[in-house]
Symmetry: C2
């Protein structure tokens, strides 16, 4: 292939070459047989074996890049390393019952794994366990057959995107979860950012062409407001009228501190005999994102298509993870864990509230009734981007509301408190307060 032996060149006999190279003749015979089988050599009856024609590769090309049509992508790191990060959606595992966890995984380790593909919809035991969990914690009663195991909310978005008509319109909350926008846009669907007020998504602003409406009713992402009951009913009626589906992302419906959570929108729909709401959950916030387990609770007439989409996506989730998760849920450990972390998060958000309360009226904390993050609304002269820059220089990472919105100019910082230790939370909040005071004084002086 380097061109040293041109096409048609005769090769020495195997005995000769073996002698020249100082190897056993069998080695050469095997090599010739292999090269003949490849088509690299040709055997001609009554003549020596020779090099086949047409093998010569072109000159080595200069180091070339990607094809011209390949998308240009530069990945940004997800967070600055070493910073104190008020990361959204970050749970804590500091309260995990390590013994229970270990026992759930050891039980998996003891089994010989299956040698075949499982049900793409998920392991039956896990589906039953998760359906019961959703019924117990969120009042939404699903059969195991309606619950489809996915690897994450991201995958769930992708499965639904693949089932919408080409170029269909998807309405999403604005401000909202950027990954939702991105997944639907990558699937070449039209995304309508739909505004949110104190009652949740503004149903009156929905594009009548929307086939799917993405909402976070328990704790709007990222504002933290809860969708009111009248608004919920309005949304269900809208979906029925427009033959649309609702995707209810209940990403932290399990975490409410002052009042019990409202039942899931999906349970309201089911109570009405409706089949408009697809319920989306994950174990990422209630346990850990490193499990990569999520689920969709799907009205019965939609189940088959969603399962097929999951099959085309990855043929199903890993057996071992599903087994361990089923052990954890069925053993009662998930409910225990939730009780424990709910107390922890409630204490965290109280601490955050206490530390940031003196900042009013310049900065007012909202969305703090539920979830793992809060929204610090800013009044003039404060600008979220300026605060973010100053905080970053002092080693604290926060997100701005602007990063989660396509249409809103509202100024706010988003503060995830789930994954921080109490000491870090207090240090970070003190720094935020300090920087806000500085900025207010600077504006007053200037």
């Amino acid at each position: 292939m380097s061109g040293r032996l041109p096409g048609g060149a005769h090769l020495p006999g195997s005995r000769t070459l073996a002698q020249q190279l100082g190897v056993a003749r069998g080695v050469v015979v095997d090599a010739y047989a292999e090269l003949l089988a490849d088509g690299t050599l040709e055997a001609v009856v009554g003549s020596a074996t020779r090099v086949a024609g047409g093998l010569l590769a072109g000159p080595r090309s200069a180091a070339s890049g990607a094809p011209a049509w390949w998308p240009e992508v530069e990945l940004k790191p997800l967070s600055a390393p070493g910073a104190l990060h008020f990361e959204l959606g970050q749970p804590t595992l500091s309260l995990l019952d390590n013994r229970a966890w270990r026992s759930c995984w050891n039980a998996v380790a003891r089994q010989v794994p299956p040698s075949d593909y499982g049900d793409p919809a998920g392991d039956a035991r896990l589906r039953g366990a998760l359906a019961a969990f959703v019924g117990r914690t969120r009042g939404h009663h699903l059969s195991a057959e309606q619950l489809i195991v996915t690897s994450s909310a991201a995958q769930s978005f992708g499965l639904l995107a693949s089932l919408l008509p080409p170029g269909a319109c998807v309405a999403v909350e604005d401000p909202g979860y950027p990954q939702v926008y991105q997944v639907f846009e990558r699937a070449r669907l039209k995304v309508q950012p739909c505004p949110v007020d104190a009652d949740g998504l503004q149903v009156a602003a929905l594009n009548p062409a929307a086939r799917l409406i993405y909402v976070t009713p328990s704790h709007q992402y990222p504002l933290g407001v809860r969708m009111s009951l009248p608004r919920r009913l309005e949304l269900l009626a809208w979906a029925k009228q427009h033959d649309a589906l609702i995707l209810e992302d209940d990403y932290d419906g399990e975490f409410r501190y002052d009042a019990p959570p409202l039942p899931a929108l999906a349970s309201l729909d089911e109570a009405e005999g409706g089949r408009r709401v697809i319920y989306l959950g994950t174990l990422s916030k209630v346990l850990t994102p490193s499990l990569r387990l999520g689920y969709l609770g799907v009205p019965t007439p939609l189940v088959q298509a969603v399962v097929q989409a999951k099959r085309f996506s990855d043929l199903g989730s890993p057996w071992a993870v599903q087994q361990a998760a089923a052990n954890f849920v069925l053993g009662g450990y998930l409910d225990q864990h939730l009780r424990r972390v709910r107390r922890h998060y409630a204490a965290q958000r109280s601490a955050l509230g206490t530390l940031l309360q003196p900042l009013a009226p310049y900065a007012v904390l909202g969305g703090i009734e539920a979830g793992l993050h809060a929204c610090l609304h800013l009044a003039a002269p404060l600008k979220a981007g300026v605060l973010q820059d100053v905080l970053r220089r002092r080693g604290v990472e926060v997100a701005t509301l602007g990063e989660y919105s396509r249409t809103s100019e509202a100024q706010a910082l988003l503060l995830g408190y789930g994954g921080l230790s109490r000491a870090d939370l207090e240090r970070g909040a003190a720094l935020i307060a300090e920087v806000i005071h500085e900025q207010v004084q600077k504006a007053a002086a200037g």
Copy 2:
């Protein structure tokens, strides 16, 4: 919401209602507070609490099905239960070193899992272990950074589909792997079935618009032919000329029985300084599909976009599975397992060959040099569909070549022998021979 209390209806005081219901007053106070927060009740200064207006849901709709635009899907079961199934791509785990397996998973169970999302490209230790494995077994030398962990070949197809220009043409082998067709077509790409001969995919037949060419050079799926070296070079030159990429699915390149495997097409490309070949592997055949682990070996200029696609697809594969797999590969257990199963499969395919050899010239076994399945080519008067039906009635499931082809009329049965016990293999092969004899005699008599 049932309409029993109309909008504006006044509610009894909390003390009264508590007495009526026989509960503590605090319960009613909490319930009222919650319903006020929802917007279900309204508080009016100087008046009793009342039911809010606009809450009444419409009449219960009749049990409605899916929206009109929802795709109609009826899932077929993947295989008939209870049958002796010559299933393609089915490995055996009967030779798994259970102790080694357990130790790899126990090591995972002992660790507290991370509470955050990992690198979407995969765990660094696993990426290094798999890159070294590919270099060692397939002569394709990748850096760990070039190796991206996926959940399966299916996901790998989907990731690449999402990176092609909208509506781009993808050339796939015909006969070929139906899932490849399906995944690319679901992504709304144009799929060109491209014929295969004894040297592999016919490069001269490629559509010049093809951006991606899917090939299985080590053991064509499902014919079992190996792509010859001249054809490999022709394909690489074509891709360079047409600014296309090649997707090399090396789905059972590790299993060759008579001769060492040819180096991967990707390694030939790399040796040329080219960056045209994306190498696709999985642990499904060499270990078990229940792991749901695959990988892509990607030329450096393409890495970032593929990692981003994985991030949008599912944010990365599960931590525990990646850890256990890394332990298994780095502990040397995968190489041991491969040596063991390779001997087993070689014995299986010999047994199959011996049992079916007497069927020539009506039926001739091909593609048996490698892989976990063979192709039984049929001559007139035999018809694959007829044989499949008769065998099914006698409890044996086989695939026909027609099920794997869009353009070819060739008659053949596809016989996966990887997952069968020796006894089942012999019983199944004897039945196939019997049915073929019957059919030949019937045709001669008729």
